[in-house]
């Protein structure tokens, strides 16, 4: 099986209206920016997107929101996206806000074959509504269920022809768990190298979790909060 895709169109083939997608990244850091632009081009609609954020108004998943391609977002933080906040408050967009750690673990669980787990996060809050509560070590915990997706689209720094991935710095974030939880996982990489080039000791995501891989054409890598100190 050849995982390497000849084009971005091939890489994203099969993504249809109404599907559930996991999109890696935290803010604009470590997002599969080429694949997101391609989803806009494909015009797929009624998507459920699982992603920590929703990009900003004019980049990342914000591009899909602008075109109203997203029916439902499952996220932890939406503070930097006015369109998102507006569509959510007006009810156009269905939003499931869940604690960041629970989101990460729900993806990990989905990929690891664990259907649900108990966590203390969110007990006593809106997040706990309708969820089973159990006491462990004298402390209440809520039951959170695993998440999976029809497609997971992740972004890595380097990948090889076997689908092994290496991430850079904090661009790793949600990508490894989402890579595990996709029925089909598509990896967008900055650099695609032949098998044997990457040191097996330093692989972050083993290739077993990746079905398709392609090298992105352009990486803008926008910065949301450029913060510097003076020399």
């Amino acid at each position: 099986m050849n995982k390497v895709q000849p084009s971005i169109e091939n890489a994203l083939a099969g993504i249809k209206d109404g599907m559930t997608l996991m999109i890696g990244g935290f803010g604009l850091c470590g997002i599969p920016e080429n694949a997101i632009k391609e989803l806009v081009k494909m015009g797929v609609r009624e998507l459920t997107c699982i992603s920590n954020n929703a990009g900003v108004d004019n980049y990342g998943l914000g591009l899909l929101l602008q075109q109203q391609q997203i029916k439902k977002m499952i996220s932890s933080y939406v503070g930097e996206n006015d369109a998102f906040e507006r569509q959510m408050l007006s009810g156009e967009l269905e939003v499931d806000l869940i604690p960041q750690g629970s989101l990460a673990e729900r993806c990990r669980a989905g990929g690891a074959g664990i259907p649900a787990f108990f966590t203390p996060a969110g007990f006593g809050t809106e997040v706990a509504e309708g969820k089973e509560v159990r006491i462990f070590n004298g402390k209440p915990h809520i039951l959170e269920e695993a998440l999976t997706a029809d497609f997971a689209i992740v972004k890595a720094w380097k990948g090889d022809t076997e689908g092994n991935l290496v991430y850079k710095a904090t661009a790793m974030n949600f990508n490894p768990m989402m890579a595990m939880a996709g029925k089909i996982t598509i990896a967008e990489v900055e650099e695609l190298v032949p098998a044997g080039t990457l040191d097996p000791n330093f692989i972050h995501t083993p290739g077993i979790f990746v079905q398709r891989i392609f090298q992105g054409a352009v990486f803008e890598k926008r910065i949301e909060q450029r913060t510097v100190r003076t020399r």
């Binding site: 935290f26 803010g27 604009l28 850091c29 470590g30 920590n52 996220s75 932890s76 933080y77 939406v78 503070g79 930097e80 906040e85 959510m88 408050l89 806000l97 869940i98 604690p99 960041q100 750690g101 629970s102 989101l103 990460a104 673990e105 993806c107 990990r108 966590t119 203390p120 996060a121 969110g122 007990f123 006593g124 809050t125 809106e126 997040v127 720094w157 991430y167 850079k168 710095a169 904090t170 661009a171 790793m172 974030n173 949600f174 990508n175 490894p176 768990m177 972050h204 890598k221 926008r222 910065i223 949301e224 909060q225 450029r226 913060t227 510097v228 100190r229 003076t230 020399r231």
Partner: protein
Amino acid sequence: MALDKIGIAKRIAQELRDGWYVNLGIGIPTLVANYVPEGLNVEFQSENGVLGMGPFPFEGEEDADLINAGKQTITVKPGAAFFDSATSFAMIRGKHVQLTVLGAMEVSENGDIANWKIPGKMVKGMGGAMDLVASAENIIVAMMHSNKAGESKLLKTCTLPLTGVACVKKVVTELAVLEIQHGAFHLLERAPGVSVEEIMAKTEGTLVIPPSVPEMTL
């Protein structure tokens, strides 16, 4: 005189202890990193996946792949580590992080905290705050004593949707340091020149005042 944001950060920095791993939230908490007392070795964790955060980069040296949970560009110190978000929250839930400092819209006298949503008006999302407050042993809230409308943010009961229940241990505001114990705010210190009366007037929740309240030393 009431403290400014830097004053609040400096006072919180006095709570740091050698060898601690510390998570700082967005806003005033981020400033705490600038005032670590000399001689202390403290590692800062950011929940998007980094341990060993250093100062902000010099202009021209920003790396889009290296940010903190506030999405600000950062640097790392020698000995830093990167990891995925599940591992990051394993550190937090697993109580491997000794101190969490975060902002709040409201704190109640039993330690409840609200900081993620104003129904019908503003929804930013909880991000990692719910995981942090549910598990951290030591939580300090950094915030202003009153909101923009002049209403107290230290309440008997929170009015906004909660982030966590009975979890806040200490609150540092521009006026005071308060410890939460047995369902009340205990006044520990007051900002230089700020009267106990002013703190009483601006605190809606139950306030316990000892016979003498020292001024903060910054």
